[in-house]
Structures are given as structure tokens and as C-alpha cells.
């Protein structure tokens, strides 16, 4: 107390008293109220889900969990379907590959060569026809005059 007088003279002057009050009979009734609450909780189980859902924080949490329970299995099934589609696509690629490899290199060269030779022979034929035409229809003097 002497310490308090030294470090806090104003505080030490104030009478130490309890200025708070309680309603009449509060402490007589309280044990019964607590007992009732404990019995209520026991009979309901400590966590009644419907009671909890009345509180906004719990309601939001439960909604999120509920949505997750719907979304996750749905996403998994969509992903699985998507995976199956990929397999079909890969399968068709395999078929395309088989078709591609069935055309052998020799066949390919032959096809190209035939086309090439056909084309060159027809071009040679056309040139000969043009020369023949020129020989038959145009005399040398006309050609020399043009030059």
C-alpha cells in the first residue's frame, strides 16, 4: 500500500470498493439456469446441426461444403469424359498412322515418276508440234527479217 502511495498518490486516495451491482437473486437462480443449459445440450447432443445452421457463419460454411460435395464429383465425371474423348482422338490418330504407313515409299516414288514422265513427254510432244508448224508455215526470210 505504501508502494502505491509513492507511485500513484491519486489512485491510493480512491476507496477500493465494488461499484457494480447484480439483479436481485441473481446468484440464487444462476446454478439452476446453468444446469438447465447443460441438460438441454445433453439431450440435443452438443451440436445440433439445425441449431448451428441458424448462425450465418455456420450457414455459409455448410453451403460451401454442400457446393463442394456437388462440384467435386461433377468435375471428376466431366474430367473422366474428357479423358475418354482424348483416347478416341488418339485412337483415330493411330488409324491414320496405319493408313499412312501402308503407302510404301516405292509406291510413292513410282506414282511421282509416272506423273513426272507423263508430263515431260506431253511437253516434248507439244514442242515438236510447234516446230513442225513453224517449219511448214513460216519461211526463213520472214524469220530473219523479224530478227
Amino acid at each position: 500500500m505504501d508502494d502505491l502511495k509513492n507511485i500513484a498518490p491519486e489512485l491510493s486516495k480512491i476507496k477500493k470498493e465494488n461499484s457494480f451491482k447484480v439483479p436481485d437473486n441473481y446468484f440464487d437462480d444462476l446454478p439452476m439456469k446453468i444446469q438447465e443449459r447443460i441438460l438441454q445440450k445433453k439431450s440435443r447432443g452438443y451440436y445440433n446441426i439445425f441449431e448451428l445452421l441458424k448462425k450465418p457463419a455456420y450457414a455459409v460454411s455448410f453451403s460451401l461444403v454442400f457446393l463442394m460435395l456437388i462440384i467435386i464429383p461433377l468435375s471428376i465425371s466431366i474430367y473422366k469424359d474428357h479423358g475418354n474423348n482424348n483416347q478416341i482422338a488418339y485412337g483415330s490418330l493411330e488409324i491414320a498412322d496405319i493408313e499412312y504407313f501402308e503407302i510404301s515409299e516405292e509406291l510413292l516414288i513410282e506414282a511421282i515418276s509416272v506423273e513426272y514422265f507423263d508430263e515431260t513427254s506431253s511437253m516434248e510432244q507439244a514442242t515438236d508440234e510447234v516446230i513442225d508448224y513453224l517449219i511448214d508455215n513460216i519461211d526463213y526470210s520472214t524469220i530473219l527479217n523479224e530478227l
Partner: protein, 186 residues
Amino acid sequence: MAEYNDHELLEMFRDEDKVNYAFNLIVRKYQERLYWQIRKIVINHDDTDDVLQNTFIRAFKGLSAFNEKSQLYTWLYRIATNESLTFLRKKRKRLFLSLNDVENQLANRLVSDEYFSGDEIQLKLQKAVLSLPEKQRLVFNMKYYDEMKYNDISEILNTSVGALKASYHHAVKKIESYLKNKDELH
């Protein structure tokens, strides 16, 4: 009514047939002391009533695991303190207030509180206590009003005795300063 010591009450509580009777005796034994501890933190009677009931319900759930390493009273006191602080934090969040604002609000409500009978100087002292940081306020209440030993406070707040002495010293100095400054204003 026979007065049982804590050990006897706990023994009785462990007997399945006497659980409710034993707990009722524990409530009767400690309700007033815990009430005043909580009341000094949350200030308002109705809030104190809620916090005190929650304290005893929490104690009921945990009592079967209580191993008597600490005294029953300090264990209950610790639950009451935690429940009170949790209550204030929830209130702060709910009203989007800072901790200081909550304490200002409590101080302002004290003026019109029908269950507060203090005169002007007592009101001023309560406002000074409410202006302290949370931990200093707890230490001040336990030491100044409840005259608890530092060892018991240390067990309740899980803080070293040295740190508690320093907290109490700072709290007293701040209250003295508050009282002096407010005197100058009046």
C-alpha cells in the same frame, strides 16, 4: 449445506451418479468470484451473465479431463478470462470496431448502466482502467481488486511473475496519469 473442498468436489464429479449434484456445488462455490472477474472485463451485466454461463458449460465439458495439477479455482479463472476476451474480440469483429473503440463504448455505457452504482471518482477510475491495454487491464484487476498472488496470476495468464510485476507497475502509472490529466480537465 456441507462445504466440500475442491478435491472432494472433483471426486464426487467423477462419480456418475453424482455428476450434476457435484457440478451444482462447484457452480455455487465459484459463481460469485468468477462473476466479478468477468464483470470487470466485459463491464455490462447481461454480457457477464452470458460469459459466465459459457464459462461453466465449458468447465463442465472439460472437468472430467482436469488432472488437478493446478487449483480448480485458477483453472476456472483461466477459462473465465479466455471466454471474456473471446467475447470482446467477437464483439469487436461484429461491430467492426478497434479494441480501443470497444473499450470506449464500454466506458460510455457505464454511465447509464443501471447496475453501476459508483460515484464520479469510481466512474473515472473505471474509465482509466478501461483505457489500459488488454493484458495490463487483466493484471491490474487481479492484483488491485482481487488482491491475488503473482504466482496465481502467473498460472492463469501463463506469464512470468517478472513480466506481471512490470505490467502492474505500468498499469498503475498509466491510471495515475489518467486520473491527474482528467482532474486538470475538470
